[in-house]
């Protein structure tokens, strides 16, 4: 056999394959059938037939709908059969878009099957030509528990993610390029493609929208940085105190702080939120204690509200860091501390020169993941202030403590500006992706995942 070659790929299989390999680009599974894998080949063929039946019966319409997003608006139309004007149902752009996305996903699945069939056929041919054993169908099924176990165990997750995460996501991403706002609500109205207009109004225009976007983005960054680092250092210091020599009942102290972790966040946030209200218990008490003469607007004045959410987040977040850091602290070699102490280093110097550099080195990926998590920390803001205090400077609904995510949620839940929400979602993605890329470059354990094994 002179047709064996190294780098086998999608193209070379076609250019250098035999007639069956070539034909199996059109008729899936032909090569499998030719080289002894009849059942497998027929299955591929069946899937192909199914897809094309789908495509020519409904698929074409779905794809066309995806381009037009509906042509007939709901309204009064003349019914010729009855000879009267009547209300006629129009196209529902939302359903058209959604089914169009489903058609896209089905097509992607088919392309995957098609590619898999080609490579599977090529493998069968390769094994056959070189005198290797060609698996029959039963053997293929059996291999699912062994060398092909990834098909078995990943099947459910992949299908689940495809239907319940991937499809909705594609739908919403496409939404960012439409005019699906509160004035174009199906089924009464149609919406249409608007290319990058949403991004332009959000980022560049001098309208209220971009005057809302940039301050909200700024606060999101300030919040993320403060929330992350306050909890990080707070938790680290707390862990160091609890783990230091001479503290008895370590478990008791740890438990006191862990209790806040065990309570579902929405409960503790809601409770603290009611405590911080104008007539909440905090305001009652500080007036009783003579700390202030009048109620403090903890959640209703911009600066107070911003400081309050950071502090409450500190209350919630410190125990998590404390637990995590406790584990790492114990891994720092004790000799380092001993020699430092012999050299006469003060506790502060020891922290600055030994503990902190070590912690920072180990926890950088965690820290950046945490930063991204805090940019998107929905519950801390939503349950505590609901984004408030509200302001007239912002686009309707947004408040002074709103993060991009909470604003996104409000745009979908309250004002139905889905296109804006989707645009913000994409921008959040870009921010997260940037930070993740930085992590990738910084973190050795991510680059070299085999290192530990």
């Amino acid at each position: 056999m002179d047709r064996e070659y190294k780098r086998r790929n999608f193209v070379t299989t076609f250019t250098r394959g035999d007639i069956f390999s070539k034909l199996s680009y059109v008729f899936c599974g032909l090569a499998n059938i030719r080289y002894g894998q009849v059942v497998k080949g027929l299955l591929f063929l069946l899937l192909e037939v199914c897809y094309f039946v789908f495509l020519f019966t409904t698929g074409v319409n779905l794809f066309r709908g995806l381009v037009t997003l509906g042509e007939h608006e709901q309204g009064m139309g003349y019914n010729e059969a009855l000879g009267i004007y009547e209300m006629q149902a129009g196209d529902n752009s939302m359903i058209i878009l959604l089914t169009g996305v489903v058609a896209i996903v089905v097509t992607i699945c088919f392309v995957a099957v098609w590619l898999f069939a080609i490579s599977s056929g090529e493998n069968a041919r390769f094994n056959h030509d070189n005198g290797h054993h060609v698996n029959n169908f039963i053997e293929d099924v059996k291999s699912l528990t062994n060398e092909n176990i990834h098909f078995l165990l990943l099947a459910i997750p992949v299908v689940g993610i495809l239907i319940f995460t991937f499809t909705p996501l594609i739908y919403m991403i496409l939404m960012a390029f439409t005019s699906y706002d509160n004035e174009h609500q199906p089924p009464g109205h149609l919406f249409d493609w608007v290319a990058l207009d949403n991004f332009k109004t959000l980022l560049l225009s001098s309208e209220k929208l971009s005057q809302t976007f940039w301050p909200v983005l700024g606060w999101t960054f300030i919040w993320g940085i403060f929330a992350t680092f306050s909890c990080y250092f707070g938790g680290m210091i707390l862990a160091m105190i609890i783990n230091s020599k001479g503290i008895e009942f370590k478990k008791f102290w740890r438990t006191i702080f862990v209790v806040t972790m065990g309570i579902p966040a929405f409960i503790s946030l809601k409770v603290v939120g009611t405590m911080l209200g104008e007539k909440g218990i905090f305001n009652v008490l500080i007036q009783k204690w003579g700390w202030t003469a009048s109620a403090v607007p903890f959640l209703t004045q911009t600066t107070y509200a911003r400081v309050s959410v950071i502090l409450v987040n500190f209350w919630i977040g410190v125990p998590v860091t404390m637990l995590m850091v406790s584990g790492i602290l114990m891994n720092i070699p004790a000799e380092l501390y001993e020699s430092a102490r012999i050299d006469g280093a003060s506790p502060f110097v020891i922290f600055r020169k030994i503990t902190f550099p070590y912690m920072l080195f180990v926890t950088t990926p965690y820290l950046i993941a945490n930063l991204i998590g805090n940019f998107n920390n929905f519950s801390a803001i939503y349950f505590l202030t609901g984004g408030g205090p509200m302001t007239l400077d912002y686009y309707k609904g947004a408040g002074k403590t709103d993060l991009l995510v909470t604003w996104l949620y409000k745009l979908t839940a309250d004002s139905n500006d889905y296109n804006l929400a989707a645009t913000i979602g994409i921008l959040i993605f870009i921010i997260s992706a940037t930070f993740t890329l930085i992590t990738f470059q910084r973190s050795g354990s991510m680059k070299n995942e085999e290192g530990f094994q």
């Binding site: 528990t145 176990i149 990834h150 459910i156 993610i161 020599k245 862990v258 972790m261 409770v271 993605f429």
Partner: protein, 420 residues
């Protein structure tokens, strides 16, 4: 004198402690009340209060602060000249109580002065300089005495932080037990205690809390089983096997994960509606399980640390990959399984946004998170606040117990997450 060494004491702090105690004694003699009240010092204020007709019950905080500061000075004098471990310990305990009562003055001073008829409309910021100097110096004294007695100063920080951390939790407990209904009450400790809130929670026709609890339990238990199995399977494949497209698969999951989850919720709702699953608990379970694989990282990180040699040995012995997964990897992963189960369980109780969207106004399908939130709507909060608190306690207590019990595993999982 300063060169003296005593085993069990760090005598270099003796002088500092002594000076601080003397300063705090001196602060008793400088103006304590505000200028409007004549700027009396703390000792004369106490004497005035003792001879007053009517005083607040908490006035004894003030007396004790004065007495204990003086006692601390005496003990300081004694231990300065006859340094010893026992006397230093006694000194420390006296100073602990002195500091405690000084601190309580921060909260009780207004009451003491107003009830005692010394001042009207007292505000803490108008208190005399003596109060602030005293407060700072008693803390300094305590720190130095503890250092002298070789006791870890961290206790002070832990105590203060512990009280702050427990404060909201205590409040919710007390609210759950409060007989007086309503959100706005002007006091911390309830006037009457009762268990009626808990009874009402389960016997209220408008609030089917029992049903919500059962719903959430179903979601939580199903989620624990399904999600954990899926996560374990995914993590096993991505960690222990190599196949073409593995890296790409992980990258795709990562990219999907970087989009905010709320973004696709509306579309998801429409898909579920199309499948006829909306407003049912089943949808919550299915969606939870479908997305579970996205959170494989921590488990994969854990599996990465199990030596590959074990797998190789098993393969030589003729085990299939599935057998390695079920017979070797899973039994070695107890802590990460507990971590996953605990995380899923906790998530089911606190997940709010998606259930809220999914169930709409169908109350009978609510989970407790949605239900409890419904109770705290501003139109209802006044009539339901104590029941809301009772509901919070009913949910939180089992979870907290579970959490404290399984803390060790949680820490292991959490430390695993750091590795990245």
């Amino acid at each position: 004198m300063n060169n003296k060494t005593v085993i069990g004491l760090k005598t270099e702090y003796l002088l500092k402690a002594f000076v601080a105690v003397v300063l705090s004694f001196i602060s008793l003699l400088i103006p304590f009340t505000s200028k409007e009240a004549g700027g009396k010092n703390m000792i004369s204020t106490s004497i005035a209060l003792l001879s007053a007709d009517k005083t607040a019950a908490v006035s004894f905080f003030l007396y004790l602060a004065v007495v204990l500061t003086v006692a601390s000075l005496i003990l300081g004098l004694v231990s300065y000249f006859r340094t010893g471990v026992k006397i230093a310990k006694a000194w420390m305990f006296v100073q602990i109580f002195a500091t405690f009562f000084w601190t309580t003055l921060l909260f009780a001073l207004k009451l003491i002065l107003e009830e005692g008829g010394i001042e009207d409309n007292f505000l803490l910021k108008s208190a005399g300089i003596g109060f602030w100097i005293g407060l700072i110096t008693v803390y300094c004294s305590l720190v130095y005495i503890m250092k002298l007695a070789e006791v870890n100063v961290g206790y002070i920080v832990l105590t203060i932080l512990g009280v702050m951390w427990m404060f909201p939790i205590l409040w919710i407990l007390l609210t759950a037990l409060r007989a007086e209904q309503g959100y706005y009450v002007g006091y911390f400790f309830p006037k009457h205690l009762t268990l009626k809130n808990f009874y009402d929670l389960f016997h209220n026709s408008a609030v089917p809390f029992g049903k919500w609890w059962v719903n959430t339990m179903i979601v939580a238990v199903c989620g624990c089983v399904l999600n954990t199995l899926i996560v374990l399977g995914t993590a096993f494949i991505l960690s222990r096997t190599r196949f073409s497209g593995r890296k790409q698969f992980m990258n795709i999951l990562m990219i999907i994960g970087m989009f905010p989850g709320f973004m696709s919720m509306v579309a998801l709702y429409n898909i579920l509606k199309g499948l006829g699953l909306n407003q049912s608990i089943g949808a919550l379970i299915v969606v939870g399980a479908a997305g579970a694989a996205m959170g494989y990282h921590i488990t994969k990180g854990y599996f990465d640390t199990i030596p590959k040699a074990i797998d190789e040995a098993a393969i030589i012995d003729g085990a299939s990959r599935l057998q390695i997964f079920t017979r070797i990897t899973i039994p070695l992963s107890k802590s990460i399984i507990v971590y996953q189960v605990l995380g899923t369980f906790l998530g089911a109780w606190s997940d709010y946004i998606f259930p809220r969207l999914l169930f709409g106004d169908r109350q009978s399908s609510y989970t407790v998170a949605v239900g409890l939130f419904w109770m705290t709507d501003f139109r209802r909060i006044d009539s339901y606040y104590t029941q809301f608190a009772a509901g919070a306690v009913v949910i939180a207590v089992p979870i907290v117990i579970l959490f404290i019990w399984l803390q060790r595993f949680y820490v292991e999982g959490l430390s695993g997450s750091v590795k990245g």
